[in-house]
């Protein structure tokens, strides 16, 4: 009954256009009133949901991504990617995917990825005769690579939601291969569409250009090494690594690329806090929602339902994927990680799935949610940057969805994709 109050209130509020964080907070409040408890509980959960030291990595990784974006690192990555794959069929589309992959190494936000990569490449693609829908499709679907390639603050949220036994270092390493596999499949999709539409190819710029642009991009690309290596070698914890990323980003922005000044520094910081506050506010509200879900025994109910439907591992895992894709369509990523993890992780573990593998699978599914309406933040930003209608995007994005689904299935059913790199390096 409490569960009904919670979910119905949430659905009604969502339907009338209430911001999602307030949908979560207000529906929790309604359920708390129904249970005859004090509203203090909701505030306590909002507080406790963000007063988690490990979560500090989130502001810092968002902040460092913003610094890299405006400090000169991302455009040099575009240049390098262009030299490397610009001459392939669908040239700038391939550049786009590769840049997103590289940008993923300095940022964990798909939205920042769309603005950073799309901001530079979408206008350029349109200028060179690519259709706007193609440019936006490639950009938004590749933007989610940043969720898989470390650093990924969403993986940190998952590690916290999963409780003990999940290592952020292992998750970070586990996301690398799935990120590359997804990128490869997206490149195939970009190639296929480009071939069908007959986009022209451009000339190879030469090895010297590759060398030069790589050299220019190296300081930015080194960040991934510092973060993953630093955590792995025990120089710092994941949280500390995120602060190092900020300091490192500032250092190269000020002294290597020399594109930052005090004024732009303050503006970048201010921008970053706005993103940080809305993300953390959602996490906080989701924590209240999760508390009510737990008290009303929702995880047990879902588990019971699933075991009553099937005891087949393949069917169960496909059902979890489907549920995550549907939930991802209507909700934002961070609160969903907090809410979905305690419900689905035990079921996946029951079927012998490693929690790190599950984490990567979860992130990939919810990443697709970011480019799926009705709540597709990365998609919205991509449409805005590309000045296109969402209907036009939705008509032609399906080859890229297929690429994502293929990668998700590989990660779901082949543990090695996630676990091989961490095991090799341990």
């Amino acid at each position: 009954m409490t569960l009904t109050v919670l979910l119905v209130t949430f659905a009604v509020l969502l339907l009338i256009g209430m911001p999602i964080s307030f949908c979560l907070a207000l529906s929790s409040l309604a359920a708390i009133f129904f249970l005859d408890l004090s509203p203090l509980v909701v505030l306590q959960r909002i507080f406790a949901g963000v007063n988690v030291f490990a979560l500090i990595a989130i502001p810092f990784f968002i902040y460092s991504g913003e610094i890299m974006l405006h400090g000169g690192a991302s455009e040099r990555m575009v240049r390098f990617a262009r030299a490397l794959v610009g001459h392939w069929r669908g040239g700038l589309g391939q550049v786009n995917v590769l840049t997103s992959l590289l940008f993923g190494g300095i940022s964990g936000s798909a939205i920042a990825g769309v603005s950073a990569v799309g901001g530079v490449l979408i206008p350029k693609m349109k200028e060179q005769g690519y259709d706007a829908d193609y440019a936006v499709n490639v950009t938004v679907s590749a933007s989610t690579l940043g969720l898989m390639i470390p650093p990924s603050h969403n993986m940190i949220i998952y590690a916290i939601a999963a409780g003990g036994g999940v290592s952020v270092g292992t998750l970070f390493l586990g996301g690398i291969l799935p990120g590359f596999v997804t990128a490869a499949l997206l490149m195939v999709a970009a190639y296929a569409v480009a071939r069908k539409r007959g986009y022209a190819t451009t000339a190879f710029e030469g090895w010297a250009m590759i060398g030069d642009s790589l050299l220019a991009a190296t300081p930015g690309l080194l960040m991934i090494l510092i973060i993953v290596g630093g955590i792995r070698l025990g120089i710092f914890t994941p949280t500390e690594a995120s602060a190092i990323a900020v300091v490192y980003g500032l250092a190269i922005g000020f002294w290597v690329y020399r594109e930052l000044g005090i004024k732009s520094f303050w503006k970048i910081t201010s921008n970053a806090t706005r993103t940080v506050a809305s993300v953390l506010f959602l996490i906080a509200a989701a924590s209240a929602f999760g508390w009510v879900l737990a008290v009303s025994d929702a995880p047990a109910a879902v588990a019971e339902f699933m075991s009553s439907v099937t005891d087949n591992k393949i069917v169960a895992l496909l059902m979890i994927n489907a549920a995550l894709l549907i939930l991802g369509a209507v909700m934002d990523m961070a609160p969903l990680i907090i809410i979905a993890t305690p419900i689905f992780l035990p079921i996946a573990q029951h079927f012998g799935m490693d929690p790190h593998q599950f984490g990567v699978m979860l992130i990939m599914n919810l990443g697709v949610g970011l480019i799926t309406p009705p709540v597709g933040t990365a998609l919205f930003v991509g449409c805005a940057v590309g000045e296109t209608k969402m209907e036009a995007i939705m008509r032609t994005i399906w080859p890229f969805y297929l690429a994502h689904l293929g990668a998700i299935l590989l990660v779901t059913f082949v543990p090695g994709f996630t676990l091989w790199i961490p095991e090799m390096l341990s």
């Binding site: 306590q44 409780g163 955590i231 025990g234 120089i235 914890t237 994941p238 008290v295």
Partner: protein, 309 residues
Amino acid sequence: VPATEARTFRSADIHPTDYPTVEAVRYMSDRLEALSGGEFDIRVYYGRQLGEERDTVEQTVFGAIDINRINIPVLNNVVTETNVLSLPFIFRSVEHRDKVLRGPIGREILDAMAPYGLVGLAFYDSGVRSFYTPDTAIRTPEDMTGLRIRVQNSDVAVAMVEDLGGNATPMEFGQVYEALRNGTIDGAENNWPSYSSTRHFEVARVYSLTQHSMVPEALVMSKLTWDKLTPEQQGWVRQAAEESIDEMRRLWDLRVADARERIIAAGNTIVDDIDKTPFIEAVQPVYEKHASDPVLADLVRRIQETPDD
């Protein structure tokens, strides 16, 4: 007071479902159901479902959680009297601790929680804590010089490690395994079962039995819930809680034996030839700093005067 209607109490625990404290509260639930003729029972939300301990303490005070199994260090900043239980080497032996906690002093500390919105029901055993490190044996305080030791986020724990010459590093529990493996920290401290269940023994292979702390855990009820019960109903809750203590102890001892066997089988080094005297001398400043309050000093004196048997 009008009698509370039949209901299921919500109980919180951070430990997993098969942990002795969780099982003990389920045992308490069975006893309570029997004593109350089916009026009351308890549903345990295990494994942090309702939040971390410092959060569930607040929720218990607000009445959102009825029963809570809490680590004493979490209560230290709420109920002053509980600080004596966290003091290093305050108990000479397990027998001494049991004698104190099941006697009038234990009752006094449980009763001291009432002004803060909590009704102390019972103390549960939480074993004996010792230091573990990747490769340093700790036989004297000098062996700890400069070691980065993870401690619980508690002022007493920090002060103890610092006085022993270590570099106290408060860190969230979930980060400790990686930090030990990576060398971000040089050691941590816990009891046998936790050393085993957290898998810390895989990355910290030397367990030095300093036995510096025997801090128990407390089982409490929300005062808001308590005050809604009739004296008879309160009596049932108390009795069921007290009956669960022995059940908890039985499960706990099994667990300790199990963990010890597992860790020794894993080939870890167990350092047990330790003279505690220099350790006890080194931590005296902790007593001066954290037990100088007359109420606490008096409790310390009476605990020390309590005989072992």
